[in-house]
Structures are given as structure tokens and as C-alpha cells.
Symmetry: C2
Subunit: 243 residues, 2 copies
Amino acid sequence: MSERYDLYYWPGIQGRGEFPRLVLEAAEAPYRDMARLDEAAGGGVPAMMRVLETGIGHHIPFAPPFLVVGDRLVAQSAEISAYLGERLGLAPDTEADRLFARTIALTTADLVTDAHDTHHPIATSLYYADQKPEALRRAQEFRGERMPKFLGWYEWLLEMNDHGVLVGDRLTYADLGLFQVMEGLRYAFPRRMGAIEGRYPRVIALHDAVAQHPAVARYLASPRRLPFNEDGIFRHYPELDGE
Amino acid sequence: MSERYDLYYWPGIQGRGEFPRLVLEAAEAPYRDMARLDEAAGGGVPAMMRVLETGIGHHIPFAPPFLVVGDRLVAQSAEISAYLGERLGLAPDTEADRLFARTIALTTADLVTDAHDTHHPIATSLYYADQKPEALRRAQEFRGERMPKFLGWYEWLLEMNDHGVLVGDRLTYADLGLFQVMEGLRYAFPRRMGAIEGRYPRVIALHDAVAQHPAVARYLASPRRLPFNEDGIFRHYPELDGE
């Protein structure tokens, strides 16, 4: 466990990089946030671009975030979170529970893509202003159909489990992912969340328990936790929100 | 390895279920395609709905496809494929290669979502006809930006590796996923693929090698391989295609 983890992600946003970052922080693991380091120290966006161009031992990621550990490269937010969680004591114990934690993390990644596409329903390469009519429609469907479906699923998992966590009997990376999604949805859709989140009391209790986890609480209060903003995945555009 | 695999997915389409199904077929593993079995034999869509409602030992999937093996439930197309590939001899040997195979499979799942959203850019709950103007725009971006980006990445991986496969030195589930994506893109976007696929000779060679794999070839010629259709993920709507 004395290996060092190098996480690479865009430096100005929480985005998809925040999911593995929360696992590293909750585990108090030794890691470097490479694109946020000085270029003089071998970091910065140029260091990230070098890996995107040449890879690590012929393993080239399609996009950030990605993690480099020795000769290993892992990309995709949910896969990095699972890999770290299983190595750092933030995964369940049994094989059945471990597999289900992975299932949850990947489903959370789908929710994140859905939330992203509310402001970019046509193309990531275009500005929000250039796809606003489509965004208004997609956001309406997201608020009305998708948000209750995902949140209801998490609530149902918590109701089936007796331990106040999504899977197994203690906190895992799957719970950290739900915490982050709740943070993001509250930031992006405060009116909608205000209207519906009372339906999901177990989800809220788990969110609050994660926020009070000592290492997580220290991280959230530190400058390492970037604020949400309108360059990230969860963006607050009031016209996309509504009860 | 004598355990039986029960795969659950919508019976009328290839969709996301085709990725794990190809792994099971290539490995000649004993499996049941549950929703395509008779209801009298404990199969059919009602059997699938039962698992979606009550789960397996409190593990409830969000959506099909999912796999049940004994007391284990795994959902998410890429995760099921990785789980099966690693158990059935269709994964690389080293840890670094195994992690990268997972990275590839998850990136392929992103491409599949992108392809799906060309005909459903606003909501899966709406008909295509009710989101056609948005679909025309999203498909144009997909053809112009996303298809070359994904296909160029696969080609680059094949160029970096010396073995004619995406990772490691023999066929894995990551290659089966690329095969399926090529089949789907050719079905949905024949004009666009005709215009650009010559740029990706290594991808085409790998696709052809998978098609000639004996167990895969037998599967493709069997009635178990459903044809593509306009209820699936890859749909041929001529107005969404173009050079």
C-alpha cells in the first residue's frame, strides 16, 4: 500500500475526477493530483496531455480522469473508484458485495452522464448557448423522469440493506459516489431537489454520514475541494431547473 | 467453471445485452438467455421483471442487462463482460493489461451510449419521432466528431500493440466489444462508415478476425444472433446517416 497514486484530471473542475479523488481522500492515501501541480514539478495540463498522447506502456486513455500506479493505467471514473476502493479498504468484503458495488458505481456514472447532457444534449464540442432549446427539453425530462428513477433506486437499496450504506455493512466507494451525486444535483437543480428530496430520507442520511466522515470532512473544508462551477458536469443554469 | 450463467436482457434486440452475450458465446460457456426462455420454464420478461423488483440477496439492478451466477448479481454491460472475460479465459494475463481491458470496455460502453443518443437525444421515454430535429443535430455531431475520435483511438491502440488485438497478446472481451460496435456502426451509419472506415485498417482486420473466430462464427450464423432492428441501440434511420 506504499505505492503512490497519480490522478490526472482537468484542474479547474470537480467533474468526473471528483469520484476517484473522494476515494483517495477518504482513505487518506498518498496521491498526487497531477494536472494541479506546477509544470516545473512535472505536473500541469501538459503532463496530462503527454499521457493522453503516448500512454503508459502502450496503454492510452481515451479521456481524463485516469490514474497511474507504477506501470498500471486505469481510466473511467467508476473503474478507478472501484480499483482504489478495493485496494484501500473502501470496498465490501464478499465477492457478491464487491460485484454489486461495481454495479452501483457504474450506474452512478450513467447518472452523471445524464446530468451532463442536460446542458450538452447535442455535443460536448459546442457551447451551451448553441444547444439551449434542446437543453431545456432534456433537462425537463431529466428532472421529471430520470432524477426520481435514480434516487428512488438508491433509496430502495438502502431500505433493503440494514446497515445505512448501499452495499455491505460499512462505507464504500459506492456511497462516496452517491454523496457526490447528491452534492451535484443540489448545486445544479436546487429547486427540483428541494421539491423531491424529502422522498429519499435514507439517501439524505447517507449523504450526511459521508459528509461527517473525518477524512472526508477535512477534505471538504480544504482548498483541495474545488467549488462547483459552470465549466463542470453539474452546472447551475436556473432556466434548466424547476420544481 | 461448471457454474451456470443466467443472462437477462430484453428479448427482441441485441442492445447492450449483446456485449456479455458475445463473451459467453465466444467462450462456449453454459448459459441461459433468461428473457428469451419460455415463461413456463421460468423465463421470459416476467422473470426479468421479478429480479428488477426484488433483486438477488438485496442486490437490485437499475436496468438490464444483468447476470446472475449463484448468489452473485452483476449489472452494466461492460462490468458483466469484464467479469465473464476474466473467468472464461477471454481477458489478458497481467494486472496492468487486465485493468486496461476494463478501461477499453467502459470506453466502448460510452460510445454505445453516444450512438443510442443520436436517435434519442432528449429522452428514452419519448419516441424518436418526437425528438427528430434534435436527433438530426446530434447525429451530425456524432458522425463528424465522435465516430472518428473513437475509431481513431482504437486504431492507435492497435498500432501501439504488436499482436493485432487491443490489449495483451490474444483475443479478449475488449476485442469482442469493438467487433460489436463496428457491426452496429455499419448497420446504423452505412454511408458514413463507407466514407471513413478505410482510415482504420487495423480495426477492420480485428473485426474480421473476431468474425472468423470459430465459436463466434457459429453464433453469428445461429438463430441466437438477433438481427439489428429499429428498437435497438444501433438503428438505421437514413436521415441520421451521411458521408
